[in-house]
Symmetry: C2
Subunit: 503 residues, 2 copies
Amino acid sequence: MTREAGLAELKQRLREISDLRGAESVLGWDQATYMPPGGAEARGRQAALLGRLAHERLVDPAIGRLLDSLAPWADAQESDSDAAALVRVTRRDFDRATRVPSAFIQRLSEHTAASYHAWERARPANDFAAMRPLLETTVELSRELAAYHTGYAHPFDALIDLAEDGMTVAAVRALFSELRTGLVPLIAAINARPQIDDRCLTGAFPEPAQQAFGEKAIRAFGYDYTRGRQDKTAHPFMIKLGRGDVRITTRYRTDNLSDGLFSTLHEAGHAMYEQGIDDGLDGTPLYTGTTSGVHESQSRLWENLVGRSLPFWRHWYAELRAAFPGALDDVDVDAFYRAINKVRPSLIRTEADEVTYNLHVMLRFDLELALLEGTLAVADLPEAWCARIQSDLGVSPPDDRDGALQDVHWYGGIVGGAFQSYTLGNIMSAQFFAAARRDLGDLDEQIGAGRYAPLHAWLRERIYRHGRKFTAPEIVRRATGQPLSIAPYLAYLNTKYGALYGL
Amino acid sequence: MTREAGLAELKQRLREISDLRGAESVLGWDQATYMPPGGAEARGRQAALLGRLAHERLVDPAIGRLLDSLAPWADAQESDSDAAALVRVTRRDFDRATRVPSAFIQRLSEHTAASYHAWERARPANDFAAMRPLLETTVELSRELAAYHTGYAHPFDALIDLAEDGMTVAAVRALFSELRTGLVPLIAAINARPQIDDRCLTGAFPEPAQQAFGEKAIRAFGYDYTRGRQDKTAHPFMIKLGRGDVRITTRYRTDNLSDGLFSTLHEAGHAMYEQGIDDGLDGTPLYTGTTSGVHESQSRLWENLVGRSLPFWRHWYAELRAAFPGALDDVDVDAFYRAINKVRPSLIRTEADEVTYNLHVMLRFDLELALLEGTLAVADLPEAWCARIQSDLGVSPPDDRDGALQDVHWYGGIVGGAFQSYTLGNIMSAQFFAAARRDLGDLDEQIGAGRYAPLHAWLRERIYRHGRKFTAPEIVRRATGQPLSIAPYLAYLNTKYGALYGL
């Protein structure tokens, strides 16, 4: 077979996998948005079938042979060429997929489905005991999954690497430790100051006005509605159904203004990343965001660095006020800006402010490592959780509902590998934003004028268009000229919250 | 292989085909309802892939071997047993699918897609000349498709049989000729009478009130919203996405009350048929309505026999009036009943009244047979259309837009086999309704009281639950005790319209 024919066959096979995954996404989107309850069982079967067909096609030995035959040629290409990246990333996916026996995947998938359904009942019932045996099995299966992937320094590097190519337990621990050192005194200083009044965010905010305002804002950001749409779901998410079809979902609380608004900006950040990938990569494993952390950096950049900034609100506040007549009459833009940036240690990660959020993540990262290493027993998890959140944030959950049962991750998937990306995303968001500021001149002036095109173009050029061609560390270095660093993030937090709290 | 193992393997294979088809339906529903324009290209590829995978699985020689090995056992079962029907119907699908070469299917599918896109431009532009060469190819391909299916008395029996198992050109011709003999004098008599005033149906009818009223009516019929939902599309349709998920779509005109209302009742009829099939048939080719004609009998039964009846409106009219305050104040229920049943020869089939509708169908059936038999050239079609509609209905299309370019069928599919089912559905709807009336006592009294459960249960028991176990002629005989007959339909039309027009 010639090299051209081999590459064409590989691409043809990858396109079919990609189309099956896209179809699976359509099924998943519909399930979360509009599917009637009666359709759940058949839908589960349809989605499982598409997932199995895609997986079978990925682990087909023919893919391995094609990759082998293309390797010498790909190795001779520039490492940042599409062709080299295609062979490199496909090889990584192929090796990862073929290392894990199908029977194990089936077992894991059945167990996590059962665990998720049990958790849906156990959390409202505050019944950690019901989850204990299931979580013990999940920990076992997570260790087994890690063991299939050899060649890592720490046995659980594999789990992190699956979500966050190129990251290790050691690297995450070092970053988190440094970040913690900076956060603890900042939070202590904030706690010593008079608290911000954020009562203006609660009241009566009709859903249609929230929807219209959010849509206008993200259209201005550059989210393309001809290649996407927004719907309502219980939990907001972004999903790509195929080229030219990247959707977001949001939920609204009519008694609270910030929930729906910032989740809209957040999901739009994810979506603009997917919409910005070079369409020439369509049909290949490169046609998606590179890692969970880099993805999160984009959602947090648009949500927080832009959407919770004073320049942003100087531009939009009059329009927000007009959208909710009467509700914000006595609140000036500075007071509103303070309200949406109030720092207050709390129990729930997903509702946490920018500063304390990362301590929630570190808590989970440390606990899941302890579970995986066997130094913490599942039975002792609730107590360990309470002790840690009390010592880190000075708050105590009244029960496991808002403690060890809080997040779905451990109950609907494996233990290990998911949480660190949230904080890595925060760190990267500030590093990217600082580099953009350096390159784009007066970014605050642009944001204050409602002009996001320069920032959007910078992100597309430096990050979005590459899809999965580069790992997170590579993307950071290419986009910013520096290795991953927490300095810009700490500087951002210290400057912003120093001003807000008069530190 | 044991018989049990063979049957289990067959069912396993059929379930996968069914799940792929279901997934394809999810993609199709989303494309028609919510997909952003940018997603069209990828969606087309995803849907084509699922269609190809389902087709490959159906024509797998292993299916043929399983059917061969199960045949002696299946033949020994009662012919109305699920097992016998499963083997019989799967054999029919398998033989039909394997007779046609994949390359031909590919060619046909590419041609009809191109033809459809051309028609979308040609119809508004009144450009029949642009469609002529494409339609000539369609006629050629339709003949070729018919030729793959041997063993029929008339070469185009195959095309009819594909849509309407057990029907033939001769049988349709005989029915249509008899029906025509009854319709022509009825229409002439109506035309000689003073016309009904239906101006009350035009005005300002807000969409939310139309939607709410339609939903309430079809919930009362028995359409189950926990296993379905209703959305808006350019063209109304019903689609089954899987067990427990049968959806309908509707369109509304705010200047016209009848369009959205009766299309809602119509699609709900289709949907209740699908919702009523025995769930034990799920995952097999039996788990769908048996033919297009029987399906249409159910949409027309609920739309016309129930929904355009005086007892129905005696129950609902006060509520309709309340839904559109002021709009119907001067119109009593009898006047409203007359308005929604006005008979007026017109150009557009889909907007035609109950009486003249069938002449539209006969016109198309005769013209497509002439095209297929070669007695009519495509170039002469527009003129033949005009001559026929003038002689049948006394109206003349001002251009081809409302003439030979009117229906999508010939331009987005094959020529032959689609139209007859509309009139067969009308005929069967009256025959089923008459049988139900015989069995259920005072059906008018029940409908007048808003009680549809007895009728719905009768239809489910006699028709719906069987899915594709029986052909249309078999279903008619089982449900009514009689062979297919136009007498009930002509009696219905003569009685109803005799009273309406004082004949």
